[in-house]
Symmetry: C2
Subunit: 84 residues, 2 copies
């Protein structure tokens, strides 16, 4: 077994309204910053042990599918790297 960290990034699907991101963008603009767009996402860093990188990615993918993301409104991606 090797120790891995899987990073799951959960984003709203394109077209789903994100009032929190809109408010954050407006607040930055009120502070004088210029920006074209702002998107927010949730990031989960999961430490787990697995036989290999592919097994770690599959388990993290299933965690995202079953709990971390809502398939109706979210997209997600998974990245895995070995952990010291």
């Amino acid at each position: 077994m090797t120790a891995y960290t899987a990073t799951v990034t959960v984003r709203l699907q394109h077209g789903v309204l994100d009032p929190e991101a809109e408010t954050t963008q407006q607040a930055l603009e009120r502070l004088g910053f210029e920006l074209d767009a702002l998107r927010s996402a949730d990031r989960f860093e999961i430490d787990l042990d697995a036989d290999d990188e592919q097994a770690a990615a599959e388990r993290a993918d299933e965690m995202a599918h079953r709990l971390l993301a809502n398939p109706t409104i979210h997209d997600y991606d998974v990245a895995v790297e070995a952990r010291e």
Copy 2:
């Protein structure tokens, strides 16, 4: 001016309690997943125009410093890449 996307990742500092991450970890364990730890973070993807990559990174850093992160409890990092 070039179009960039700056990604700001905001994490709780080590030692700051994160009950939401704890609850998420427990929920995954109740579903039968094995994991050693789970950390959550906020991720902001900011589209902006700047003269060069360094200018884009500096502006995103200032946005994080002034609004996106709370220096008392958060650490953050900034990554910039050119956007098509």
